[in-house]
Each structure stands twice: as structure tokens, then as C-alpha cells.
Subunit: 119 residues, 2 copies
Amino acid sequence: MSDDSKDTPSGAFIGYETCPVRRTLTVLNGKWKPLIIYELLPAPCRFNELKRRLPGVSQRLLTAQLRSLEEDGIVDRKVMEVVPPHVEYSLSEKGRSLQPVLQAMETWGENEVKNFPIS
Amino acid sequence: MSDDSKDTPSGAFIGYETCPVRRTLTVLNGKWKPLIIYELLPAPCRFNELKRRLPGVSQRLLTAQLRSLEEDGIVDRKVMEVVPPHVEYSLSEKGRSLQPVLQAMETWGENEVKNFPIS
DNA sequence: CGGCATCCTACCTGATACTG
DNA sequence: CAGTATCAGGTAGGATGCCG
């Protein structure tokens, strides 16, 4: 889930490096990643708050996908050494640069209802 | 996945119908769906041609995701009754309306290399 | 050519318990 | 609070092989 451009299986694999959409999808590849980024766009957020805003996610996956986004340089993780612990997640510059992608998704989701109502 | 207005646990469920991004992700949910749409944007395409352009996809998944996109009204499937069979996939109006989303992904994938080179 | 059918694995969730 | 660990169960995805 966190590897990509390395183990390219020999040969006719046009994939990840040459197609910009694939590169984007590699970073966004994870059930909750786009939503996590979307939630972090307006403001940084703590772990449980994020979990609360993403109904359906398990803490296991939320942790894993946050780690993955952190590795990809999309999300920053700031730990305050206090009791009780306080961990704040925020978007990096690179993460914020994804805003147009999420924006386009948001716009489509809104228009879809107007143009093609779900009965 | 199709209902939620009923079991909304008192307010805190931002879920599928109220969050436009979630709605979009529901339609694009599938490893190859965005890429399929991306490939169909310029022109309609036959099954094996599509398969050839998406290295790494299995025909099982390609079939399944095309069916799913068809059900969601994103993709049109046209069968020519000839020998050998000729099946052409194209984007519906609704499918073409996703262009800005794919466009944003493409742009980000391109800029990502310039702004944050992959070593 | 464009699929199904089958089998099998990897991933995701849910629940619960435990740590610093 | 913010995780990690574990197990069960479900679904998505991958690798074949057969068929009209």
C-alpha cells in the first residue's frame, strides 16, 4: 500500500511513473485518504476528532492511512508531549496542493445531484 | 451503501449523501475506475484495447469495474453483433462530466514531479 | 473477442483488550 | 488520548481456465 514505483514487474508496465493520473492515484490509494485530506483542508485536526468526522473508519485503518500519507509527505504529524497525549494532524504544503483534486470531487458530487438526481 | 438517511446516529453522520466528496468517491471507488474514465475521455475504446492501455489490470476486474461504472451511468456499453464480437465502451454525459476531476489528478501528478521530485 | 466461473489471497472492518 | 495487538468475518482484487 505504501510502495509503488520500485517493484515494477519487468517490462510492459507503462504505469506509475509515466502516467500522472496513476501517480496521483498512488498517493490517494486508500479507502479513506481523499476524505482525510478533505477533512484536513480547512484546519488541522486531532486523531479522535478525525475519527469522529469519518464515520465508518476503524482506528486501525485511520492510523495506517495517516502513516502512509505522512510517509508520502502529504500530512504532518505533531505530537504534544502532555498528559493526556495530544496529536495533531495537518496538511503539508504538498498536501494542500491536492486541494484542486478534492475541490473537483466536491463540485462533481454536488452537481451530480442536480444533474442526475438519485431519485 | 445506498441508504443512510435512516440509521443516522443523531446528527454526527456526515455520510454518503450529505458529503459530496463521499458521493464522488463512491462512484470512483475501485482500483481502476478513475483510470478507465481517464482512458475513455479522449475517445471510445474496445475491451482489449482498454485492457492493453491499463497494464496490470485483470480482465476480471476490468469487466467488473466497467459493469459497475455502467450501472452508475458513467459508461455506455455498445455491443456490435458480429464475429468476432466487438464491444465498445464510451463515456456517457455523466461520465464526461467527471473530466475536471481527472484533469485535476493529471495536473497534480505532473506538478508533483516538478515541485517534489521523486529523487 | 469479450467475457464468465473458480479458486485463492490481501485488504478492511468490528470488537475487544492492553499500553504510554 | 492516541494508539498497538489480536481475532473473526466480509469484500475487493489477482490468476487461471473455459465458452459463445
